[in-house]
Assembly symmetry: C2
Homo-oligomer: 119 residues x 2
């Protein structure tokens, strides 16, 4: 049975992209690969999702781009974090932590009256 595709919760993609660039410039295709591999093939970024997202981040001055050659000798657009991008990454990492913790807390709540040891 094929693994079903997991849809992105909207708003969580940007921080993943920013994270992919933390060690240096990468092109779009490599960012996709990074997210796929580091998530154990759970998070699969469609190209129609990725490129508009990259454009938005560049437009917000969180990323800067320039053309170059990939490791496979192909034309590729390399994105790097700007100073604002690094700051944004730090903030969004913290936001994710807080958010995920809050959701998990709600979802793991036990019975409000009976408490943990219910019948």
């Amino acid at each position: 049975m094929p693994k079903e595709k997991l849809e992105f919760f909207r708003g969580t993609l940007d921080v993943l992209i920013l994270k992919a660039l933390v060690w240096g410039p990468q092109h779009g295709y490599a960012i996709t690969t990074f997210i796929r591999e580091h998530s154990g093939s759970v998070l699969l970024v469609e190209e129609g999702t990725l490129y508009p997202a990259l454009w938005r981040l560049e437009n917000k001055k969180l990323l800067a781009a320039e053309w170059g050659l990939s490791e496979n000798n192909r034309k590729a657009k390399f994105y790097r974090l700007t100073a604002a991008g690094k700051k944004q990454l730090r903030e969004e990492l913290a936001t994710w932590e807080a958010y995920a913790a809050a959701v998990s807390k709600v979802l793991s709540a036990t019975h409000p009256v009976l408490g943990e040891g219910q019948a």
Copy 2:
């Protein structure tokens, strides 16, 4: 300074609503309260977000509703999980687990070349 408001990652609200109903019927206002309190006031559901969401869930037959009287003696609409809703809750709990784990794995990645113990 006041705590800044955390926006919902889109797609994560439904499972929180379903969870709020796992112990029995509740009205909308109580669902909001449940999510706020169990998240330590991190997750604040706007009414303009909640009610359309409840309508969607009811429309999908995941919830069923009927009017009644609240504990404060006010007219209120009580929602309860249908069988399909309970199934959906189980599935979305699993989805959240998988998703959160995958994102966290990516966001906690260490240097891809140097590995954990970098300079």
